[in-house]
């Protein structure tokens, strides 16, 4: 926890408080000059020499949000009781550890070139920002140029060349953006609504001596669905993961409500990392989060974590949960079924994108997948870029 030094001599309570505000800002609490003024006003309203009262007062004024609420006491002690000064040394240590992690990760995968490809991926995806601007305005038909047609049909497993992969990632991102924009273009005035628009009827009838002849109607505009994507990056999904991450990036790109998570044996929220405009930093943040990328899979365990910690805030009756996974799970299938049933009650729809489903003669024999089927609304193939493009129609029907 970064702390500011408690000034030995201060000109008065205002300076002390300004120091405290600086301390809070340093620790990520949003406290501007307006808050400082309010805090001084608040101290006038309480017994300002009673530490407990001051703590309560400043807490309800400045700790807005449950996460800040729970750490405010520690921050308060750190500043006013100088409790944080010794701990100031921990911050640089944590930083050093952080910068070492990607190296460990490289040695784990033992594949330098692949590492480079992964690091490149968000970079190349971000490069074509100009293309996106023009492409996103059009339907999928024109979005996909002819030179990419062949690439669209090929199974993602067959893409090995880094250049091809980068190209696939770029297409995936554009597809995802197209889906997103298609959704949000759907606000339109309706001719047939379910309620009478009395405001307009009254206006119109004034011209006819108050006779309501034209019955005008109105309908609530359709609002875009929110997308929450959960991507499996375990060993069995590794060949698909790179393209899918680009797909996620496109999907949540500028849609501030969308949310995305990665899991293998643990679950990590990657929305902020994927949204990072600095592609190198995004790659570094992502690689920190997916340590153990390419290991075993715990779908059920990750969903437990998702349901407990994230679902409450990010999944509502207007949310589509997209799970990208092949369904191979080391947790018992009953656990997966249970967690999916919990999620299904909260979400509007659950869409499971399965790269294996695109194979001929695929049957959901993986026990996890079989257990999951009753709770998901759509089980769709996702082994080629064309199948990702087909999702657009699916999202439109929601």
């Amino acid at each position: 926890m970064p702390t500011t030094r408690f000034v030995e001599r201060a000109s008065g309570p205002a300076e002390r408080l300004a120091g405290f505000m600086a301390h809070l800002r340093l620790n990520g609490i949003n406290a501007g000059p307006q808050e400082t003024g309010l805090a001084l006003a608040a101290l006038n309203a309480v017994d300002a020499v009673n530490p407990q009262e001051v703590r309560f007062a400043l807490k309800s004024l400045l700790a807005t949000g449950s996460d800040n609420w729970s750490r405010f006491d520690a921050l308060f002690d750190a500043y006013w009781y100088n409790a944080g000064r010794e701990r100031a040394g921990t911050a640089p240590a944590a930083h050093k550890q952080a910068s070492r992690r990607p190296a460990i990760w490289t040695s784990e995968t033992g594949d330098g070139q692949e590492q480079a490809a992964k690091a490149n991926l968000p970079a190349s995806a971000a490069d074509d920002g100009d293309d996106d601007a023009t492409a996103s305005g059009e339907g999928t038909g024109r979005l996909i140029a002819t030179r990419t047609k062949a690439l669209l049909r090929r199974d993602l497993r067959e893409l090995t060349d880094p250049a091809e992969l980068a190209e696939a990632a770029r297409i995936a991102e554009r597809l995802a953006r197209a889906i997103r924009d298609r959704r949000s273009r759907r606000r339109r005035a309706a001719r047939r609504g379910n309620t009478l628009d009395f405001r307009r009827i009254a206006r119109r009838s004034l011209a006819r001596g108050g006779e309501p002849i034209d019955l005008l109607r109105r309908r609530r505009p359709e609002r875009p669905m929110r997308i929450v994507a959960i991507l499996d990056v375990s060993g069995s999904m590794e060949i698909y993961a790179k393209v899918f991450i680009a797909f996620l990036k496109g999907l949540i790109g500028a849609d501030l409500k969308a949310d995305s998570y990665l899991f293998h044996t643990r679950l990590a929220r990657v929305t902020e990392a994927l949204r990072d405009p600095d592609s190198l930093r995004a790659a570094a943040r992502l690689s920190l989060m997916v340590q153990g990328f390419g290991g075993g899979t715990r779908i059920a365990g990750s969903l437990v974590r998702f349901n407990d910690a994230h679902a409450k805030g990010s999944v509502s009756g207007r949310t589509v949960v997209v799970i990208l996974s092949d369904g191979y799970d080391t947790d018992p299938p009953e656990a997966l079924a249970h967690e999916l049933s919990r999620l299904a009650r909260r979400a509007r729809r659950i869409v499971w994108l399965n790269p294996l489903k695109g194979w001929r003669d695929y049957a959901p024999v993986a026990r996890g997948m079989a257990a999951a089927l009753p709770y998901i609304d759509a089980h769709l193939p996702a082994n080629t870029l064309a199948s990702l493009a087909a999702l657009e129609a699916e999202f439109e029907s929601l």
């Binding site: 608040a42 949000g65 609002r223």
Partner: protein, 289 residues
């Protein structure tokens, strides 16, 4: 007024507030800022507004938020049916006069927010479950909470005759915007601890024996530690206490069958009822008794 005196007044109305909560309410009164309360369902967030209204001797105006709530239901709406009738009734009169009359306050339906700012005395305005309303509505709310005035195009701007004491509650089904949070004081309401809950039950069910009250509180607190989908709140606890009193149960250990049957007051989903079978209930009651 200090926060302790407010706390005492609140307990006079039957609401036992923690120090932190009493301080938040006190500050919200003295700084004139809205108070945002978050916490799990059943911790008594809505009840705070009722208690505050009673302490202040003010009117309680409540706006229940829901998905799709719009200005017509939250702020104002013209009374169109009456307007249409009035147009017919005044047929033949000067059109300008008729129109002026139609868009006067007489034909304005005041919804909670407009109602709250046009009271002669400051009311308590409870905006319940604000997280259920859409984000668009939240933005509208911001404007009202900072300026306390509402613009009706046909009438002009209506400024507050008195500033309402605003209390917002949220269950966290959606993350609220930072802008809204910045304009509010904040308090996270936890489930009451054992001593507080005993005080609550003492206030609300004065006829209850101390020993049974302690048992009830013990069981409810233990149930909250179990892995349940919906943890029993304070209201559920009070329901259960009343149910047990009505059945004439004096000791939870006496009549396990009746007690097990009354657990429906606390466990409100099928999964939760299955999670507390007779043996588990017996163990919890045994520990509390």
């Amino acid at each position: 007024m200090t926060y302790q005196s407010l706390q005492k007044d609140l307990s006079g109305t039957g609401y036992v507030a923690s120090d932190q909560l009493a301080m938040a309410l006190h500050l919200s009164l003295s700084l004139g800022r809205p108070l945002l309360l978050e916490g799990e369902a059943g911790v008594g967030k809505t009840e705070i507004a009722r208690a505050m209204a009673e302490v202040l001797g003010a009117r309680l105006i409540r706006l229940q938020c829901y998905e799709g709530l719009d200005a017509a239901q939250a702020i104002y709406e013209w009374n169109y049916q009456r307007q249409l009738l009035a147009i017919r009734a005044h047929e033949g009169e000067d059109a300008n006069l008729v129109e002026e009359r139609l868009f006067s306050e007489k034909y304005l339906l005041r919804r909670p927010l407009l109602e709250a700012i046009s009271q002669p005395e400051s009311p308590v305005l409870l905006i319940d479950e604000v997280d259920r309303a859409d984000e668009e509505f939240e933005a509208y709310l911001l404007e009202i909470l900072s300026d306390f005035q509402i613009t009706v195009p046909e009438l002009g701007t209506i400024s507050a005759t008195s500033r309402p004491h605003v209390i917002l509650t949220s269950n966290g089904t959606r993350e609220l915007s930072d802008a809204l949070r910045r304009r509010c004081l904040y308090s996270y309401v936890e489930f009451p601890d054992r001593a507080t809950e005993l005080a609550i039950i003492g206030h609300r069910c004065p006829g209850l024996e101390d020993r049974l009250a302690a048992q009830i509180v013990g069981v409810v607190q233990a149930l909250r530690r179990e892995e349940l989908e919906k943890k029993p709140g304070v209201a559920e606890m009070l329901d259960w206490a009343v149910a047990l009193m009505g059945l004439g149960v004096n000791d939870l250990a006496d009549d396990p069958v009746a007690v097990q049957a009354t657990l429906i007051c606390l466990l409100k989903t099928r999964a939760d009822q299955a999670a507390v079978p007779r043996e588990v209930a017996a163990r919890i009651i045994g520990a509390a008794a």
